[in-house]
Symmetry: C2
Subunit: 705 residues, 2 copies
């Protein structure tokens, strides 16, 4: 064990184990997680050892084998046999995390099977779910096309009803067709090489030739016997990517592929044997549950943001404790060099990511709990207001957008904080960053989501402005903004001023939350007014006014997300304190992280707080000095705080982040294994000998072109 790390660990003021238990959920889950991790780690099929030296093809094949092995392991352990939805099994998620590699089969669990559950009717589910669970089908979710991602209304793939009489199957068929180059399905994971079935999103054209917009269809892609594509189906991999390269994101087109009529998802709509289309009467509850299922993916992304930041911080903070660089200028040169973790600016970048990792955890938990609660209430036929459903949409959109933005930037910050060694694949950071950043694009592009958030929040402003009844908003996240919106619209002067009159008073979450709440509300009302002015005074169309406000919508969305994150962090901590899962020392150190989150976010967007006098210039200076003080406070616990994430070396895959801190020998061993080093001299040296050896090619002449 590296001495510096040992010393850091001995300095911790809190119980690492208690925080680990919090993150795992309870001591039992932590134990179970470790047990399952051990199973994965000792199984050679799951080895990640040579990942970084393999070609894309080799890694893809290896990842297929891991997926198959995971199915075997689950079978042996009886995981996912009792639940309809294997991904609802915490054990399954633990195993997937334990593997610490991307699996081409992942989409089958995460998108395909859930889609069958949400959008197909009971009879369809009875038929196909067993095949999903037994892996007779390996599925993917094929929505995006070469020409259309965000604007799914414009998808071009068609599903045209073909009656039995005109050559369709018994009971009628649909013909799935890609009419253009741009209608090829592009990007669906598992579609390229691995999947045997796809949920294809296509324009439904009924028996009378009428287009009813997009619907989902289950389309067989490949033969179960040969795994070759079925007639009319072309499906290849989309090619090498920035990251996520184990996965075969696909490029597929359909040439009049005929499928049974009943392969259309028929829970909410129906097409009969004559090709007549009808919407189905389903309970509001049922339709909302389907919607909630999709929202759970967002909660998952918030969690992923926390987890990924946790991994990157573990690597960068441990390495920064081990790495010594630079003298204390006041000592003489022979003194030991400083741990780079002692440089304020290293702390500044790493601890703010550390704080965010903890912060995001609480919001991920909160959103998931809220969705589960809604689901349970719906199942029990309790009512739910429109405000509530749009609210969770806005919150989860804003939080997805903000957390994945902050996490993406934070991972790269952590990587850079490791200096040159962070540029090495064996540090684990490059693949972590490169694969993570796709979260900015999928499940709602981070630059598109603010429009969704604004739509919901602007309705609220309208309601307040129009003096509407607001009680529906009371148990909503956005309802928290109401007092601020009222005061701003009411023209109170000053609308809001932060009350802290000393630096110490500013270090209070209730004071800070009030400022964050006001800022989000103020930016929101600004948009409301900007659009009104654009239309009324500048004579812009509604569309142009909306476009004009896009930049501000993004600003407001991030502000709203930060408010929610801090609120959930604070409330979450209070809950844990009440439930006594954490002791005072754990609460103390996590409270420091809450404050650091708030202060460092304020620091980065100080203009937002100053421009309307929400903070005074003097208070803004307290924010900056407050950050420095918090860095000092957190410093002694930094290593213990990443230890508490309890990420095993197997999962870290990093020579820099190793628990034992033996960084340099591990780095050298990793270098030795590079394929470039397997021969002496190295590959391509015959070319070099043409230069340096006898028959040199470089015979200078003075001729000029």
């Amino acid at each position: 064990m590296n001495e510096d790390l040992a010393r850091e660990r001995s300095k911790a003021t809190f119980s690492v184990e208690r925080i680990t238990n919090l993150l795992d959920g309870c001591p039992h889950r932590r134990q179970r997680r470790r047990q399952l991790e051990a199973i994965i780690e000792r199984d050679p099929v799951f080895s990640n050892d040579d990942n970084i030296y393999l070609s894309r093809k080799e890694r893809h094949v290896r990842a297929i084998a891991k997926g198959v092995r995971l199915v075997e392991v689950c079978g042996k352990l009886g995981i996912g046999t009792q639940e309809e939805r294997i991904f609802d099994s915490p054990d399954w998620l633990t195993l997937l995390n334990a593997i610490a590699d991307d699996l081409p089969l992942g989409i089958h669990w995460v998108m395909f099977t859930p889609n069958i559950i949400s959008l197909f009717d009971d009879e369809q589910q009875a038929k196909w779910l067993p095949q999903c669970l037994s892996f007779e089908m390996i599925g993917c979710y094929a929505q995006t096309e070469l020409g259309h991602g965000s604007n799914i209304r414009a998808l071009e793939t068609t599903a045209t009803f073909l009656p039995e009489a005109k050559g369709g199957m018994k009971g009628g068929s649909f013909v799935i067709h890609s009419p253009t180059l741009t209608s090829a399905k592009a990007w669906p994971g598992t579609l390229g090489r691995v999947g045997t079935h796809a949920i294809v999103i296509a324009q439904l054209i009924d028996g009378k030739g009428k287009n009813h917009g997009i619907h989902n269809f289950l389309v067989p892609l490949r033969s179960p016997d040969t795994h070759k594509p079925l007639p009319g189906v072309t499906s290849i991999d989309l090619g090498p990517k920035l990251g996520f390269n184990n996965m075969d994101n696909g490029l597929a087109s359909f040439d009049h592929v005929v499928i049974p009529r009943r392969n259309m998802a028929m829970r909410f709509a129906h097409v009969d044997e004559q090709g007549n289309y009808s919407k189905k009467q389903v309970s509001r509850a049922a339709s909302k549950i389907a919607y909630i299922t999709m929202m759970q993916v967002r909660a998952h992304i918030i969690h992923e943001a926390s987890k990924h930041l946790g991994i990157a911080c573990t690597i960068a903070i441990r390495y920064s404790a081990v790495r010594r660089q630079g003298y204390n200028a006041t000592d003489n040169d022979t003194a030991q060099e400083l741990q780079i973790l002692d440089y304020k600016q290293q702390q500044h970048r790493l601890f703010s990511s550390l704080a965010a990792a903890y912060c995001f955890f609480f919001s991920g938990k909160k959103v998931l709990a809220r969705l589960n609660d809604m689901e349970a209430r719906l199942a029990a036929n309790k009512t739910m207001t429109k405000a509530e459903t749009t609210d969770i949409h806005a919150s989860s959109s804003a939080l997805k957008c903000h957390t994945s933005t902050i996490a993406g930037d934070g991972l790269e910050d952590c990587r850079k904080a490791c200096g040159g060694h962070g540029f090495l694949q064996c540090s684990g950071l490059p693949e972590l960053v490169c694969t993570y950043v796709h979260h900015a694009t999928v499940e709602g592009d981070n630059h598109m989501l603010p429009q969704q958030v604004a739509k919901v929040l602007l309705k609220l402003v309208q309601a307040v402005d129009g003096g509407q009844e607001l009680s529906d908003y009371l148990n909503c996240d956005c309802g928290l903004l109401i007092p601020s919106i009222q005061s701003i619209l009411g023209g109170d002067t000053p609308q809001f001023t932060c009350t802290a009159s000393t630096e110490a008073e500013l270090q209070s979450m209730s004071v800070l939350l009030a400022a964050f709440r006001h800022r989000a509300a103020r930016l929101l009302v600004d948009i409301y007014r900007l659009m009104q002015t654009s239309m009324a005074e500048d004579g812009k169309s509604a569309q142009d006014a909306w476009n004009e406000a896009l930049v501000e919508m993004a600003r407001c969305t991030h502000a709203y997300a930060q408010f929610l994150l801090l609120y959930n962090f604070q409330v979450g901590l209070e809950d844990e304190a009440k439930r006594c899962t954490l002791g005072t020392s754990e609460i103390e150190v996590l409270s420091q992280l809450t404050l650091l989150c708030a202060f460092s976010w304020m620091e980065r967007s100080m203009g937002d707080f100053l421009e309307d006098g929400c903070l005074t210039p003097e208070q803004s200076r307290w924010v900056r000095s407050g950050v420095r003080r918090l860095l000092d406070a957190i410093r002694p616990n930094a290593v213990a705080l990443v230890d508490a994430f309890d990420i095993s070396d197997f999962r870290l895959k990093s020579v820099l982040g190793r628990y034992d801190g033996n960084v340099y020998p591990a780095l050298v061993e990793a270098a030795k294994r590079d394929p470039l080093n397997q021969t002496e001299p190295g590959p391509g040296c015959e070319q070099l000998l043409r230069l340096v050896g006898g028959g040199r090619v470089f015979t200078p002449t003075t001729s000029r072109l």
Copy 2:
């Protein structure tokens, strides 16, 4: 040609060619560049066609072949035969850019040969330079060690004098030795597999055992006949990296390797045959020229920031003109979708990078011109003040730090702005981003450079505060800050307030420059005072006070860099207008970019301008609305502005950025070439058949662990 692109081009209000000429330097250089690019593009050795599908080893070997071929081409064209420094030949740089791939031989030209020129004496140069130019040696620059990057004083490699009498060579030797694991040389490019020689930086230990600190030594690594390592030398590649993978960054150690005494760099120091060390009396000019040579690398990095942003903007802006996504909500659904370039927020992220690309160009040019001028003056034995040399150090450090930060972030922004397709390697963006970001770490880590900048600038504050003579600063960049510093230290109230009383008045570069200047000076004085307070009031040591101020030093450095960049942009444009290289329409559109740079940087750091009343809240709103107006103004010229960079499709290597806009067919062709798609079914399918086929592995049991 894609219709949208054609239309965009027809809308341009300025002459693309005139701006291209400006960027190339003159019409002749543009023509010559195209001529040289054509030579590269038609030579199959330089093909980049399958780069993205190759393994690291294959690319490395291919890049070696490209380097050898480049030497041949230079030989044939007579490039680099007349100049001592081939890299001073504009033709050589053009060829290197034209190749659009990283060459393992690059370091030989960029670091090794220049080092011989700057630090070795005339006799040494006479011996070795011909070997550099004829490639009998392939060299690298081995400074960094496994354990030390930033703190080079602490390098551990030793070079111990060994007299002839004790077994040294005739005239004495040095023994190069790596005493520890952490003393292994790590990171030097070309060191791992390719180089035959290294400049090794080592602690010089003289004949009496006294350590004289680090010096440079020319150390042969590999046999010119077999390319195998020489006795005592171990040298391998450091392993796969985030990017820059053609290059063999090395890991090398030396086991008592004996080299001739005269392999020590002896321009500025000397060790005689008895092992006596002495500093040489050289003219101040000579020592400064050596220093300037090193600074030129920084100027190069500023240029690279501009060039890389130019490439990314070309791809993202052309694609955003071609990509149509989303309806105009006020039209009906059957209308054509909008070009994504019309969304304000897409403009917001892309045009600010575009503006930065142009802005950085002028500073790169200015810094290089200033260095060349200094070099000429020194060669003519004119005097140069200490203020001048430290000033160019501060400016180039600040500009390197800021431009490479902005460019790194901007490239990733451009990538994300392309949605999913930007995640594909065939978009060209992933490799661009991943390779570029090492600029944040090399040639002074971007988080270390602010300390260098602060050291110089704080001296200036001290000089002003102490009422010292300031005339030496007058033709210095930092001298521009003096009036602001004086007013701040003098306690003027208000120290500064922006004079603009209308939104239109704010759109003036002289008004904006005054604000940027004040902000940089104010943040600088804040640091000065923070450190004084830390020491005087909080009783901190000088070291701790310095540490306490690190975060603010970074803030100040970026502020200073922004001021210089805007200043150089503005002065540069005025010069071009005077010289009539540009007409009024070109000046107009470039002036819009200058303003956008200023406004978007203000927008991002609004707190800096508000917290001391430099801007009023009202003015801050004008900044945000000004940005929106500028986006509208720039929109019609956006495609023409990237066309003006004149980056050929060969260099772009992007299916999304193609000049003809035929994005989708190119993307499909690229996908088809992936190795995963060469068999049907795909690789690894036998594993999948175990699942879906007859003998399925998944036999659910209900047993639990």
